[in-house]
């Protein structure tokens, strides 16, 4: 395994870029002029105190804020150089390319198999049952869940434990072959052992997918990410190589947060 130092040395390879992004909920501004690059080969962590806008910003990356009627996004966000807020961008295809895992595991009340098959089915990725079986097995393997559930694929996804449910949700997101996976505090509802499994999984998925993880657990950010962005009051305070942020922060606010003065 690479050391923190070596991991950070991978060259930048921006998958998504945000330039001067503002987000408003009604009249209230939640995000103020955020510019950031999401790297293909590295895991990016968004940290910051509650209400700092890190989750809001994450949700602009696959336009989940569209479901909030009062939300309005300004500025430019691109995926492979293409503006995702352009009228020509189909939000359905965007979300197939930029998947998301939520804070609370939210498997559908269907079987484990059907949970994984859901995305491939709506995007027409497999027509024959045999093809679908392959996708389901591959996705569950990548999510590190196959060995635990291979004998009970027809049981309900909601009957799994919390950590298994969250890995099922990751597998569900992987099944549609996304390019980016957004994780919104994926471990905040899990116990330490389940959390460790998810973190291990993130390490394994790195490189295959661009991964962005929102977390308010700084140790977690240090463990799983190579790039860290510190948000405070809707602005991006500092963004850089994770080890630099944690050992040698440039901004006072970052240092205060990391050393536990507030948060």
């Amino acid at each position: 395994m690479l050391t923190e130092e070596q991991q950070a040395l991978k060259p930048n390879n921006p998958k998504m870029t945000a330039r001067d992004v503002n987000v408003f909920y009604g009249a209230k501004q939640a995000i103020n002029k955020v510019s950031i690059d999401v790297d293909m080969d590295n895991v990016t962590a968004f940290i910051g105190p509650s209400g700092c806008g890190k989750s809001t910003f994450l949700r602009t990356l696959n336009r989940m804020n569209d479901t909030v009627a009062s939300a309005r996004v300004e500025g430019e966000i691109t995926l492979d150089g293409e503006n995702i807020y352009a009228p020509s961008m189909d939000v359905v295809q965007l979300r197939a390319r930029v998947g998301m895992v939520f804070q609370k595991p939210n498997p559908f009340p269907k079987s484990i198999y059907e949970n994984i098959a859901y995305g491939p089915r709506i995007h027409g990725l497999a027509s024959a049952k045999a093809d679908m079986d392959v996708i389901v097995e591959k996705s569950l393997r990548r999510a590190g869940l196959w060995e635990e559930v291979k004998d009970r694929l027809n049981e309900s996804g909601t009957a799994l434990s919390g950590g298994q449910q969250q890995r099922l949700c990751i597998g569900r997101a992987i099944a549609v072959e996304p390019e980016v996976i957004l994780m919104d505090e994926p471990c905040s509802a899990l116990d330490p052992i389940a959390t460790a499994k998810i973190e291990e999984l993130i390490h394994e998925l790195r490189g295959r997918y661009a991964i962005v993880i929102v977390t308010h657990n700084m140790q977690q950010a240090a463990r799983v990410s190579q790039r860290t962005a510190f948000f405070h009051l809707g602005t991006l305070v500092e963004y850089g190589v994770t080890s630099d942020i944690f050992t040698n922060p440039k901004a006072d606010r970052t240092r205060d947060y990391i050393t536990g003065r507030y948060g």
Partner: protein, 464 residues
């Protein structure tokens, strides 16, 4: 002394008891708080007030309630003991007539007697009424004073007035809820009793499975054999309430619920949902008019124009369609609730996979909300088959077993109305059949409601 005056007097006594008891308890409280043991008074003064007031009122009122029921009997007995009553006829019918006439004159409901014997009894009646009336009032007042005095002497700092009052209030609340249950039990019992009488005349098997319904022929003396086969009624009820009405109500209700929860903007929802719910508040007789005067003739004309045979101006379709419209708000609001109860996370999860809104609705929301929707539909069916006004006005009386929605059918509720309206003797099979029909309807709707509530409850637990 008249009834309202006595009640007012007792109420006045109650108020006086409350005020004086509270005043006394307040003084005790002041004294107790001044003493070494602070807070030695168990209950607040107003609880002592209520305690004494209740002791003043409740026994006296209970006594009056009993007395008003017992008094007429006592009065009659004392009148019969009067010498003037010796000449009364011995048969109870003639005697009762004279007594009731005398009673009416005595109480001023009737100006003068037709029967001289009654005239002679007026005075004894007046005397007895006044004697027992005054006696009752005096007894009630004595009880009020005795109760009040007893309670008043119990006011002490350590007396637990609050506990007693709260216990009584609890008993009162329990009584209120028991009253509804007891009434229901009584209704069911009377339904059962009358149905049993019916089934002693008509074979239950024949009633439930017979296919010929002509209670009129039974009433005209052709015998009960084969006249009370209720299957055509059951079929008509199911055809209108559970088939035609649901074919209208389920898709429309479901679609409106989906629109309102998933597509409508908050402003649209704000005015549209109440309007939809107003539909549920329209009196069913108004729907009945609409069905009978507008829809039914239009359907008949249409059926005649396209050459459908058996078209009638009272059709199953007219009643069913209008009933379906009436049921829409039920289905829609139940479906609305169950779709809204599906967690937002479920919807987000699907949308984040790149599913469109309609895919999310079809594949995630509706399957998850289905048990709730099914429960809502069952409740709607149970309401539809018990619905009376629309079918009475629009469905007709002919007990046909037909699949043709343009022809006339009849339902259980229509026949109940038909059997019980007008001058009927209450011991013929024809009239009693209404109770048997009512019993069947009651059992079916009860079962539907139980199943529906079970389904809904089970589903609700799944997300909590």
């Amino acid at each position: 002394m008249t009834g309202p005056a006595i009640l007012l007097l007792l109420l006045g006594l109650g108020v006086a008891a409350w005020v004086s008891a509270r005043a006394r308890a307040t003084r005790l409280q002041t004294a107790a708080n001044a003493g070494p043991a602070r807070g030695a008074m168990h209950s607040l003064p107003s609880y002592h007030g209520w305690y004494v007031a209740l002791w003043t009122l409740v026994p006296a009122l209970l006594f009056l309630a009993v007395w008003t029921n017992v008094m007429p009997g006592l009065v009659t007995e004392s009148v019969l003991a009067d010498p003037a009553a010796q000449s009364l006829p011995s048969d109870s019918f003639g005697r009762g007539a004279i007594l009731s006439e005398a009673r009416n004159i005595a109480s001023g409901k009737q100006a003068m007697a037709f029967n001289p014997a009654a005239q002679a009894l007026v005075e004894p009646y007046r005397a007895a009424t006044s004697k027992f009336g005054t006696g009752g009032v005096v007894l009630a007042l004595i009880l009020a004073f005795a109760g009040g005095a007893f309670a008043f002497t119990r006011i002490r700092p350590d007396f637990r007035a609050r506990t007693r009052v709260e216990r009584l209030v609890m008993a009162l609340l329990l009584g209120a809820s028991l009253l509804a249950i007891v009434t229901t039990v009584g209704i069911v019992a009377s339904l059962l009793w009358e149905s049993l009488r019916f089934f002693s005349m008509v074979n239950p098997f024949e009633f439930l499975f017979g296919t010929k319904w002509s209670p009129q022929s039974a009433a005209m003396g052709f015998g009960n054999e084969g006249a009370f086969g209720a299957v055509p009624l059951f079929w008509g009820t199911i055809f209108i309430g559970a088939i035609i009405a649901m074919v209208v109500a389920i898709p429309l209700g479901l679609m409106s619920a989906i629109y309102l929860t998933q597509y409508a903007r908050p402003n649209t929802r704000k005015w549209m949902k109440p309007i939809l719910e107003v539909l549920a508040g329209v009196p069913t007789v108004v729907y009945g008019y609409f069905a009978a005067l507008t829809i039914a003739p239009a359907l008949r004309d249409f059926a005649v124009a396209v050459g459908i045979s058996g078209a009638s101006s009272e059709s199953a379709l007219a009643a069913g369609l209008v009933m379906g419209v009436m049921i829409i708000p039920f289905v829609s609001s139940m479906a609305d609730d169950s779709i809204a109860a599906v967690p937002q996370a479920m919807r987000d999860g699907s949308l984040a996979m790149g599913a469109t809104t309609s895919e999310t609705i079809k594949r995630v929301l509706i399957p998850a909300a289905l048990p709730g929707v099914v429960g809502g539909v069952l409740l709607a069916v149970s309401r539809a088959i018990g619905e009376t006004m629309i079918v009475v006005m629009a469905a007709g009386l002919a007990a046909n077993m037909t699949l043709n929605p343009f022809s006339s059918v009849t339902t259980v509720t229509t026949q109940i109305v038909q059997l019980l309206t007008g001058d009927q003797e209450f011991d013929s099979a024809k009239t009693l059949a209404a109770f048997a029909l009512g019993l069947v309807l009651f059992i079916v709707t009860l079962l539907l409601n139980i199943v529906a509530l079970r389904v809904v409850k089970k589903y609700r637990e799944a997300y909590e």
